[in-house]
Structures are given as structure tokens and as C-alpha cells.
């Protein structure tokens, strides 16, 4: 009798050691994926900097970048790299990080695989704001003022859906269903309003508004990089800090409450932060779709649903995805530059479907 119990303990400790090992490996795999995505960004960025109508080699690009860090840019090559390609690349990275993380957190707090800056109406709000500014004359106001009017208007209107959702939660409990349905209602309302606006406008202005809405990194400039960086630097750490609570909320509201999470308050706070971050990006780029929806899902398929790792993973992977899509958009039928939103959907759609089909496990 004593023999059996002692052998049982031994096999028990062995089993435990084995699980610990497996768990460590699992975490190792997550970190590896994050590093892989980070390296991917650098590779794509390096390639993207060399591509374009003006031929510059990789080595030249890096020496120009190194050079320009300390001195003002003078030659054509330097101007092309510093004032055209670098802002575009940086904007791609920042927008990819921000949109993917916003999508991850929105899906997490709403426990819904369809949640994204799009489905919560943020993109539609921004589209309406920009269209309003363009169609009512901001497009005519020459130069900087007009540009800032569009950005400002897009930013303000993109936050309206979130505030409407917040308003509703004062009267109804902040359940995922209430919030996501409110977001979708706002999406339809703003899309209808934009359509109506365009219906009564001049063809040229409609074209400009439409171009704004498809979303591209072409509007990127150093002036835009700074505010977007500030928004990300403010929002991402807050979201990371709450990642553990979002994990717990994934187990259901009741369980999360029983584990000491103030579910409604956390949900609202994260929605506001993620919306602010999306709005801060979309008002500069237009509505780049799909990254916020798909990057989190792709990463979840590889590393699982633990948000502590999923936030950096989908941020970096989203950046690589968006940067890759933009590089293709710039080169596939050069000199015509396609809007990156089109490429993300065309590229991301099939890849996403393929991954979804291949995965044997049934989850989102």
C-alpha cells in the first residue's frame, strides 16, 4: 500500500514538472511570435523604403536615414526617403499597431469576434465628419487650414458613436449586446447621412470625400506622425495594464465580477480608450478596414487568447500586415498607387478565410 502511494507521488511530481515545461514552452512560443512580428516589420519597412518610382538601394536608404538623423536633408534621394517614404512607413506601422490593438480590445471586452473600429461605428463617424468638412467647403479652403479642418472634423465625429453608446449605458446595463448593437446602429446612421450629403454635392467634392474614405497612407507626413505617436503612447500602456482584466471578462460577466473585476466600468473605460486610439488614427488615414478585425484573429489562432501577449502580438503583426499591404498597393500597378484599404481587404480576406478553414479547433 505504501509503495503504491509513493510511486503515485513520484508520477504526480513528474506530471507537474511536465506541465510546467509545456506551459513555459507555450509562453516561449508567444514571445517568439511577438519577436517574429517585430522583425517582420523591420524587413518590410526596409524593403518598402527602397521601392518606388525613384530607385534607391537598401544600403543607400539606410545611409540616408543615418545621415538625416544628424543633418538636414538636401539631395533628391534624401528628400524622397525622409519626406515621402519614411513618414508613410512610420504611419503604416503606427496605424497598424493602433488599429489592431483597438480591435483586439474591442473584441475582448465585447466577447464578440466581429467587433472592430468599423462595427462600432467609429470609421463611419470619421467618414461623415470628413465628408462634411470636404463637401461643405473645407476642400476649397486652400492649404493647411482646410486639411486640419477635415482631420479635426473626422476626429470629433468619429467619437460620437462611442459617446452615444456611453449615453445608452447610463439607462441600460453595459452588456456586450447593447454596445455592439448600438455601434452597428450608429454605423448605419452615419453611412446614410454621408450618402445623403454626397447625393446633394458637386461631383468633384464627392470624389474628394470618397477618396478620403477609402483610406490610404498617402496623407502621411511628419506633422501627422507626432500626434498619432502621442495617442498611441498614451493609450497602449493603459490597455496593456487592463489586459488581465479583459482575460477574466472573457470567461463571462458573472465570473469576472466574482473575481473582483468591475465589469461595466472596465468595459466602458476600455471602449473609450480604444475608440480614442482608433479615432486618432483614422482621422489622419481615412477608414483603413480589416486590420482591426483580422489581425487579432490571426494572432489568436497562433498564440491563443491571453491578452497580455495578444496585445503586443496583434499590434506588431497588424503593423507588418498594413505595411505589407501598403507596399503592395504602391507597387502592384505602379505608378498608380492603390488605396491601402482595398489591398488589406483583398489580401486579408482570403488569408483569413484560409486560416479559418484550416484550423480544426472550433473557436473564434
Amino acid at each position: 500500500m505504501k509503495m503504491t502511494s509513493s510511486t503515485e507521488t513520484i508520477s504526480g511530481t513528474e506530471k507537474i514538472a511536465e506541465i510546467k515545461e509545456l506551459y513555459k514552452k507555450f509562453i516561449g512560443r508567444k514571445i517568439l511570435f511577438i519577436l517574429f512580428s517585430l522583425i517582420l516589420i523591420f524587413i518590410i519597412a526596409g524593403v518598402a523604403a527602397t521601392l518606388g518610382s525613384y530607385p534607391i538601394t537598401v544600403i543607400e536608404v539606410y545611409s540616408i536615414i543615418g545621415h538625416g538623423l544628424f543633418q538636414s536633408v538636401e539631395t533628391t534621394e534624401e528628400i524622397v526617403v525622409w519626406n515621402l517614404r519614411l513618414p508613410r512607413i512610420l504611419m503604416g506601422i503606427l496605424a497598424g499597431i493602433g488599429l489592431a490593438i483597438a480591435g483586439t480590445m474591442m473584441q475582448g471586452i465585447l466577447r464578440n469576434p466581429l467587433a472592430s473600429p468599423f462595427t462600432l461605428g467609429i470609421a463611419s463617424g470619421a467618414g461623415f465628419g470628413a465628408a462634411l468638412a470636404i463637401l461643405l467647403g473645407a476642400g476649397i479652403i486652400a492649404g493647411e487650414t482646410g486639411k486640419y479642418l477635415i482631420i479635426g472634423n473626422a476626429f470629433v465625429f468619429s467619437l460620437i458613436p462611442t459617446f452615444v453608446i456611453l449615453g445608452l449605458t447610463r439607462y441600460k446595463r453595459a452588456t456586450p449586446e447593447t454596445m455592439i448593437l448600438a455601434g452597428i446602429a450608429m454605423l448605419y446612421i452615419f453611412n446614410a447621412a454621408t450618402t445623403l450629403l454626397m447625393y446633394f454635392s458637386e461631383a468633384e467634392a464627392v470624389k474628394a470625400a470618397y477618396f478620403w474614405m477609402v483610406g490610404s497612407l498617402g496623407k502621411a507626413s511628419w506633422d501627422a506622425i507626432l500626434p498619432v505617436s502621442i495617442v498611441l503612447a498614451g493609450c497602449v500602456p493603459l490597455l496593456m495594464w487592463k489586459s488581465w482584466d479583459v482575460n477574466v471578462m472573457g470567461a463571462g460577466d458573472e465570473t469576472a465580477k466574482s473575481l473582483g473585476v468591475n465589469v461595466e466600468r472596465t468595459r466602458i473605460a476600455i471602449l473609450v480608450i480604444a475608440s480614442l486610439m482608433s479615432a486618432g488614427i483614422i482621422c489622419f488615414t481615412g477608414t483603413i478596414g480589416f486590420i482591426g478585425l483580422v489581425a487579432p484573429h490571426m494572432c489568436r489562432m497562433v498564440i491563443g487568447g491571453d491578452n497580455r501577449f495578444l496585445i503586443p502580438a496583434s499590434g506588431f503583426f497588424g503593423a507588418a500586415l498594413l505595411l505589407g499591404a501598403d507596399t503592395i498597393a504602391r507597387t502592384i500597378i505602379a505608378p498608380v498607387i492603390l488605396p491601402v484599404g482595398v489591398i488589406t481587404a483583398f489580401m486579408g480576406g482570403p488569408v483569413f478565410l484560409y486560416l479559418r478553414m484550416r484550423k480544426r479547433r472550433e473557436y473564434w
Binding site: 506530471k15 495594464w241 482575460n247 472573457g250 463571462g252 458573472e254 465580477k257 473582483g260 487568447g305 473557436y363
Partner: protein, 256 residues
């Protein structure tokens, strides 16, 4: 010694009153079964005790302190809640699910000690082999054990179980109930379980509360509560009760 005191608790969903002046006392290391027909208010009562729902009236005292005045995290260290079924949409391993139970005790990161606690608990419930599997791949019985493990890593004084056996086959029913019974005795935890199966309630509960339309109809040991008259009145079912001394066995005959 009174662990948990529920005093005149009332709760309504909108205009529908679900709990009417409910008062219960729970002793330390006691296993209390709450029975009653569908809609009697069993689950609502459990949710009020864990502040998942806020009762409109009445007080709930834990070790003499009003739970309304406790911080959510403090309450989470004292009361563990075990839901009926999983509502996990996104992937989560069993290990990470059980680790969530450490949430009231830790900040942003989990420590080596937390990992140890999780592993010990997995072993206690004999589910360590599933540690790295996804929770949604497990059967209902296995999931139930994972939820119990999660609640235990909270290191609570009181466990609340919402129909822990409702989705389980007969073997898992007994396994899960035995586990709970043992934990209650060994760790000196008190437990309240809402349960449909009167025979399981009779077999495992130290004391039974029978509820009907939001009110307590009868309280006491299984023999005094699970009588043919009470069951007929509350459930509208005629039964025969085979008396096994302290643990009556109920055989349903027909609805009346």
C-alpha cells in the same frame, strides 16, 4: 458560528420581484443546498450574495461585515462563484482559466507562487492532464471541475455553486459532488449550492433551503424539508419518500 448572514434580501428584475424577504444563515464549514422549482430565485440569490446583482433591500453580512461596504477585490478573496456552464468565446487554456482565480490576489503579472497554486489545484481535482487543452474542447463534467479549480485558487471562505451538476452524467455528478463535499470538510469552506436534483441535495447537503416564488418555504435538515407534503406544495408533484434515516430518497410518482 455564523459565517454568512442573509437578512431580508429583496431583488427585482424591473417590476418582477424575484426575491422576497429572504433570510438565511450559513455556518462555517456547512454545505447548504438551495432547492426549488424553476424561477424560484435560487440563482438570483447566489448572484446577490456575490454582488453580481445588487439587491434592492436587505443586508448580506460576511463574518459580520456588510458586503456592500467591501471592495470588490476583497469580496473576491472571500467568496468564490462557480457558474453553470462556460461562456468563453475566445480560446483559453485550462491552465490560464484556473490562473484567473488568482486575479483577486495579484496585479498585472502572475508569480511563481500563483503557478504553483494552479498546479496544486489542478492535481487536487485530477485534471492536470488537461492543463494545456482549450477549455471549450472539454466535456461538461471536465469544465465543471475546471470552474471548481478556478474558484479554489481564489482561496475563498465561501463557495457558491449554481447547479453544479445540471449538465453532467451520473458519474460526473457524483465525482463533482464528492469533490465539493471533501473540500468543504478539509478546507473548512462553507458552500451554498443551487441544485435541481432533490436526491443529490438530500445526499450531500447538511441543510436544505426550499424556495418557492422568491420566498423561503422551508429550512432544515433533509428529512424535515424533503417531505411529500412540501414537495407537493412547492413543485406540484406527488412523490414517495423512502426514508434512509437522515438522507431521504425521493421517488416521483405523478404531477398533480
Amino acid at each position: 458560528m455564523v459565517k454568512l448572514k442573509i437578512k431580508d434580501v429583496e431583488f427585482s428584475y424591473g417590476s418582477v420581484q424575484v426575491l422576497k424577504a429572504v433570510s438565511i444563515e450559513l455556518a462555517a464549514s456547512e454545505m447548504l443546498g438551495v432547492v426549488g422549482p424553476n424561477g424560484a430565485g435560487k440563482s438570483t440569490l447566489l448572484r446577490c450574495i456575490d454582488r453580481i446583482l445588487k439587491p434592492q433591500r436587505g443586508d448580506i453580512l460576511l463574518d459580520g461585515r456588510d458586503i456592500k461596504e467591501m471592495h470588490l477585490v476583497e469580496l473576491a478573496r472571500k467568496i468564490g462563484y462557480i457558474p453553470q456552464s462556460a461562456s468563453q468565446v475566445f480560446p483559453a487554456t485550462v491552465f490560464d482559466t484556473v490562473l484567473m482565480g488568482r486575479r483577486p490576489h495579484l496585479g498585472w503579472r502572475s508569480s511563481e507562487k500563483d503557478t504553483e497554486t494552479v498546479l496544486e489545484t489542478l492535481q487536487l481535482l485530477n485534471i492536470e492532464e488537461f492543463a494545456m487543452r482549450d477549455i471549450n474542447e472539454l466535456s461538461g463534467g471536465q469544465q465543471q471541475k475546471v470552474f471548481i479549480a478556478r474558484a479554489l485558487t481564489q482561496e475563498p471562505d465561501v463557495l457558491l455553486l449554481d447547479e453544479p451538476t445540471s449538465n453532467l452524467d451520473i458519474r460526473h455528478q457524483l465525482e463533482v459532488m464528492d469533490i465539493i463535499k471533501n473540500i468543504v470538510k478539509e478546507k473548512q469552506i462553507s458552500a451554498i449550492m443551487a441544485i435541481h436534483d432533490l436526491n443529490l441535495a438530500s445526499r450531500y447537503a447538511d441543510r436544505i433551503v426550499m424556495m418557492n416564488s422568491g420566498k423561503i418555504f422551508s429550512t432544515g435538515n433533509p428529512v424535515s424539508v424533503l417531505t411529500p407534503d412540501n414537495i407537493k406544495h412547492v413543485y406540484g408533484v406527488e412523490v414517495k419518500v423512502n426514508d434512509h434515516d437522515v438522507r431521504p430518497y425521493i421517488v416521483p410518482i405523478r404531477p398533480v
